[in-house]
Symmetry: C2
Subunit: 388 residues, 2 copies
């Protein structure tokens, strides 16, 4: 079954996903990537979303470096990196959210995530290309992002006395992802190991033992726990942080954290699986209230590919047959519902029943990232596992 899955990942990646993005997303005139693409690849919005551009730079560079040294991948990554370096920042070094096709500022968000994916893109591009100047930019961004997370007012977010006090899973995820990519070249770096250590400490506050889940936003006091944000569960975030933190544990073994990862992978699959229509929910309320998110019951591409790779990763590390059973169930649903046989790539947003609710292939939140990353990582994990 795993060999078959590896073959499928390889063919999806090289025959469907990458050709779609290489054919339709590259602005060869200005550099950078369009991500708002119709089902057939037609660009329906020429704005460039900074975080989507950073993600695509990362993806193409990683593919070039670890999968296949195709010059067109590195060239496109360079075009994206140069576009972001030229146009991505305001005069205080903060990242814009969106730009026009030519690079004029079009939107600003008071969140650190744009900067995170520019940082990851720059770092990976420097590894792929050997251009050390992008590593310097990435390192500078890394420390800056740490400050943004500690002090949101640096990005213009007010801190209000009545606001719920919450610790975000997303912040742990991005700090851990950046530190791991930095450690790859420099595995003894004490400062970067400290960041991983803090992430492994922080994740424990997110654990709900009764339900075997990580809260999306760990409430820091009783009142905050009574808010919808303080009760929110996002199975996709749990899958994504699962495989990521398992890599952190390769650097810093921690038996307790390891147990939590296993417990929450199972919990997120059990709570997240829709027993009526199949597939995994987007959001849940830990107390069973109705989530405020209108899209809570929709079936999203990234939630499902993150589950897929988290299960491959868990099985390859433990050989526990329980993960293979889940993998079978998840991949059956994925292959039956997401890929678009006519135009390639996958539909991103299915309704609860599994029909495409949005027919677009990319937008301001879907780009060339989660699908190829999960397919590449799954393929590489299976290959390593077989080579052992």
């Amino acid at each position: 079954m795993l060999n078959e899955l590896a073959n499928r990942c390889h063919s999806e990646l090289t025959e469907s996903i990458l050709p779609f993005w290489m054919n339709h997303s590259i602005d060869s005139q200005n550099g950078g990537f369009w991500t708002c693409l119709e089902r057939d690849g037609t660009v329906f919005d020429t704005r460039k979303y900074v975080w989507m551009n950073g993600r695509q730079v990362w993806m193409l560079s990683r593919l070039y470096r670890t999968f296949d040294q195709r010059a067109e991948w590195l060239d496109a990554a360079r075009g994206g990196a140069e576009f972001l370096r030229c146009h991505g920042f305001d005069d205080q070094g903060r990242c814009w959210f969106s730009l026009t096709a030519e690079g004029t500022p079009a939107g600003y968000q008071r969140k650190p995530y744009g900067a995170v994916f520019v940082m990851l893109g720059f770092l990976e591009y420097s590894k792929a290309s050997g251009d050390a100047s992008y590593r310097e930019l990435a390192l500078d961004l890394f420390w800056r992002i740490g400050q943004y997370i500690k002090e949101p007012s640096l990005l213009g977010r007010p801190t209000l006395p009545g606001a719920p006090r919450l610790s975000g899973l997303a912040d742990i995820y991005v700090l851990c992802a950046m530190a791991l990519d930095l450690l790859e070249d420099d595995p003894q770096n004490a400062q970067h190991l400290d960041v991983l250590r803090a992430c492994l400490r922080q994740i424990k506050f997110h654990y709900h033992p009764g339900r075997q889940l990580f809260y999306e936003n760990a409430p820091l006091d009783w009142e905050s726990a009574q808010t919808p944000d303080g009760r929110l569960i996002c199975p996709g975030s749990i899958f994504e942080i699962n495989w990521l933190l398992s890599r952190a544990l390769d650097y810093l073994p921690d038996e307790e954290a390891w147990k939590l990862l296993h417990s929450t992978l199972e919990g997120a699959l059990e709570s997240g699986w829709d027993t009526d229509f199949g597939g995994l929910y987007y959001f849940l309320d830990v107390e069973g209230h109705s989530p405020l998110q209108l899209e809570w019951a929709m079936k999203l591409w990234w939630v499902h590919v993150e589950a897929l790779y988290a299960l491959v990763n868990a099985y390859s590390r433990t050989h526990d047959p329980k993960w293979l059973e889940w993998l079978d169930r998840v991949q059956d649903w994925v292959w039956a519902h997401f890929p678009d046989k006519q135009f390639g790539e996958w539909f991103g947003y299915l309704d609860r029943q599994g029909q495409p609710a949005l027919t677009l292939k990319g937008g301001n939140y879907k780009g060339c990232f989660h699908i190829p990353r999960a397919l590449l990582f799954a393929l590489q994990a299976i290959q390593r596992s077989c080579a052992r």
Copy 2:
């Protein structure tokens, strides 16, 4: 059929909608209203949303003044108005978005709409109670909101050179709604008539003649027209602005605007009706692209009650049988899908197929407003029409 509809509106209003909100939303200790209510009325978030509180003050005051002088309605409206007056504003007079149950600031939004519904609530409460101090506050807010709309940086929104240049239907709607409520007491007021005049001028830029629709955001240049926001259609907004502008035309007759209202009411019904599952879509792209809004195909309570009242209003003004046919179709779908026979009130968020996707009765965007307002206005329009 219209008499039957009036009876149904009356019983829904007095036996289902109002009892639900009076029983479950009133915080008699602190004043103000909870709006995050489960299907059975249980409060699942004790935060007070400022705009939802302003809307409920408006609704209860309007019911007291024009429908039935129930002391408990005016008392609850007073509790809401006093809570907003005490806690709703920052030290620069800008409205908060959300507060804790006790009134501590919990959230801020850089939009004028919180202030709009506080203004409308204060004004209506002053009419219902005779307390002129609330009229003064409302007038001050009215001019302030006009400034916010002209100069968004007053609320902290940056204006970026690459951002799409768009004129929002919502801005026309709120300016017109406020001016009409002010003119009710003072129908010759030249400044308020000028605001109506500007609204009637501005709406013409939103018209798409080929498709008989008002754009949600009228693009001010060619580039802005190529963005998803510049192509967005929200049938619910077209229904809401339809009946509202028809009232403006009572003050300022304008044959051209009158024709646009008829044309777009028909266009929004034709384009908005889901021929597969019935009901009206939430968002559409005027060129037929996939909207970016994940909820575009969901069926929302407010879109449907606005259609219902817009049709009653259009028929009572024209006696064109075409509106009765549509009214029949819309109300059949409404009565079959939205009311909750078990706990009263209506489900707000149905999936495309018409099943409740969220079981809540109120949230941060659904409160005691659209349903009772449309039922009351429909009832009053039918009564006036029969009395003629």
